[in-house]
């Protein structure tokens, strides 16, 4: 009889304990939900505010018109073309350099104080305020190298910003490749370069692409460094087209052209007193946010679909 009572006490004690632990689970999930919920709502309100304010301007003409003195007819043609061209430069500079640096640091560099030094530097670069990059670019690219206040300068400047993001993403993706796959490749007689090319690079591609897109999404919204190097705030012409109809069909004159970008165009309109310009600014803001979200969405999708193909 007493045995059974002891048994029940024991059982009750266990149940009380479980209940207590479950309560902690619940409390934490409420806190988490609250925090993430308020963040999401803040973002949503911000976004909706821009969309509602800018709604009257959300049409095709907005994208095909140059900015103008009259707010009704003004558009973001020169801004989005400028942003696109600057991003192209950024992409072609930051991606090869970032991926190559990531591979070098992870696969080739001898571990030691020098590697540690570079590691700390790269990590810190990601945290440097973007205006500092703008100052560096002004001194180096504009004055020292004489590249002018051009698309090329802006592209190079933003690639400085993007580099640490690509490097860190590449290294993390490489680290995620399990040792036994690597050893399998070496065991059949592959050289380091073959292992890098046939395996490391391919399996890390998902993470690398994600890093690239997130870096680009960041670059698209950057304003401070582009202002620092002297982007124009009002521009009513397009740079020379990159593709021409005479041989060699490709033309690099656009690299030297003056330009503006989306966030600067937005900034310019906000600083005007007329309310009508503020509508344009809101519409531009909405475009930037949509582009950023779109790019992040692509990054997530890419990561997911590549992950699904590679199982270790």
């Amino acid at each position: 009889m007493s045995k059974i009572i002891g048994h029940e006490d024991n059982l009750n004690a266990i149940r009380v304990l479980i209940k207590k632990h479950k309560k902690n689970d619940r409390i934490f999930s409420y806190i988490g939900l609250f925090v993430i919920g308020s963040l999401a709502i803040a973002l949503l309100v911000l976004f909706l505010d821009l969309v509602i304010d800018g709604y009257p301007k959300m049409n095709l003409e907005f994208f095909s018109n140059f900015p103008s003195r009259k707010p009704e007819g003004a558009g973001i043609l020169s801004a989005w073309v400028g942003s696109a061209l600057v991003l192209i430069v950024t992409f072609f500079v930051a991606v090869p350099m970032g991926v190559a640096s990531g591979i070098y640091l992870e696969e080739y560099a001898k571990k030691g104080w020098f590697a540690d030094l570079i590691e700390i530097n790269v990590a810190n670069l990601a945290g440097v305020p973007s205006i500092i990059y703008g100052l560096l670019a002004l001194g180096l690219f504009v004055y020292e190298f004489g590249l002018g206040q051009s698309i090329l300068t802006a592209g190079l400047t933003l690639s400085l910003l993007m580099l640490p993001i690509v490097i860190v993403a590449t290294r993390e993706a490489i680290r995620a490749i399990p040792v036994h796959i690597r050893e399998a490749a070496y065991a059949v007689g592959a050289t380091k370069w073959q292992v890098t090319l046939h395996h490391v690079l391919q399996y890390a591609m998902g993470g690398v692409l994600t890093g690239i897109i997130i870096g680009m999404a960041r670059a698209i919204g950057e304003t401070a460094p582009v202002i620092t190097i002297g982007a124009l705030t009002f521009i009513a012409f397009l740079p020379p087209t990159p593709v021409t109809d005479v041989a060699p069909f490709i033309n690099f004159a656009w690299l030297e052209a003056g330009f503006t970008v989306l966030p600067i165009q937005m900034f310019n309109w906000i600083s005007r007193p007329e309310h009508a310009f503020h509508i344009n600014a809101a519409a531009t803001g909405a475009v930037i946010i949509i582009l950023t979200l779109l790019m992040n969405g692509i990054a997530i999708k890419l990561r997911y679909s590549i992950r699904k193909k590679i199982k270790w």
């Binding site: 796959i181 399998a184 070496y186 065991a187 059949v188 007689g189 592959a190 050289t191 046939h198 199982k311």
Partner: protein, 282 residues
């Protein structure tokens, strides 16, 4: 003169008294490789192998047995210079590969060359996240082979050699991960086989497999030894007894006893070996 004769007689008796020498003399085994006073230190200073002397005879299976942590994998992985992948590891002594008498641990010998001659199958099946075909062909690709016909032939030959051909011949382009664990391990054997290695290393190749897949792999190894020399690490005493010709018993980084498998399992000369084999210890 009489003294000299006496000396010779004593010497011959001594030679015959050592069972290992008797076998070698009786069956004319050909030496394929041997480790001589081999010592190994990991980067952190762990002295994992101490004065190991083990011969590998051609077209024979040599098994390494011993309790966990005694250095079996460390020894096996020295044969294809796997330890070179990590900085700070240190080999001392020699591992001589015959018939060319190359010391494969020599700094002047490129580890890539060693790995092209000696291939390895790991404990956990580790196919690449690529197609079945590409997995098998990879060893040839790194040698710069691009001839499609030759690759096709070699892939087929290797898959047949690994008794996997019939199961995969219709889906060579499928991802290797769609195979079962046992099939994956045979795929890894095919990958190691495709480059015609002189020696194949197996590190507990069946420990992640079910009994039927295990039997498959064991039969496969007995088939493979007609062509090449095998060194296998196993935790499974029955497996060592079933498939190997020679067995080395290792303990705490030392080689305690090496002999014909029959002798190791029936009348080992060391008490420690006997205790381990009969399960009194380990």
């Amino acid at each position: 003169m009489a003294l000299l004769l006496n000396f010779v007689i004593v010497f011959v008796k001594k030679l015959n008294g050592n069972p290992r020498n008797k076998i070698i003399m009786a069956r004319k085994e050909i030496l394929k490789a041997e480790s001589k006073n081999f010592n190994f230190h990991y980067a952190d200073g762990t002295h994992a192998l101490k004065d190991i002397n083990i011969p590998l005879y051609e077209k024979k299976i040599t098994a390494l047995i011993g309790p966990s942590g005694c250095g079996k994998s460390t020894f096996l992985r020295s044969f294809n210079r796997m330890h070179d992948l990590y900085a700070g590891n240190k080999y001392d002594g020699e591992i001589i590969l015959h018939p060319d008498d190359t010391n494969i641990l020599d700094k002047k010998v490129d580890p890539i060359e060693v790995r092209m001659r000696i291939s390895m199958v790991f404990q956990k099946p580790n196919p690449f996240p690529k197609s079945i075909y590409e997995n098998v062909a990879y060893g040839l690709r790194v040698r710069g082979e691009h001839n499609k016909r030759l690759l096709d032939d070699k892939v087929e030959e290797a898959l047949k050699g690994a008794s996997l051909w019939n199961e995969v011949k219709d889906r060579l382009q499928d991802l290797a991960y769609n195979l079962s664990g046992g099939q994956q391990q045979r795929l890894c054997i095919a990958r190691a086989l495709a480059t015609d290695p002189e020696i194949m290393l197996f590190d507990e190749p069946t420990s992640a497999l079910d009994p039927i897949a295990t039997v498959n792999i064991e039969e496969l190894m007995s088939e493979l030894k007609k062509k090449l020399t095998i060194l296998i690490v196993t935790h499974n005493m029955q497996q060592a007894a079933r498939i190997s010709d020679y067995t080395a018993y290792m303990y705490l980084g030392e080689m305690i006893e090496f002999d014909e498998t029959d002798i190791i399992f029936t009348k080992p000369s060391k008490k420690a070996t006997e205790d381990y084999i009969t399960g009194k210890f380990g």
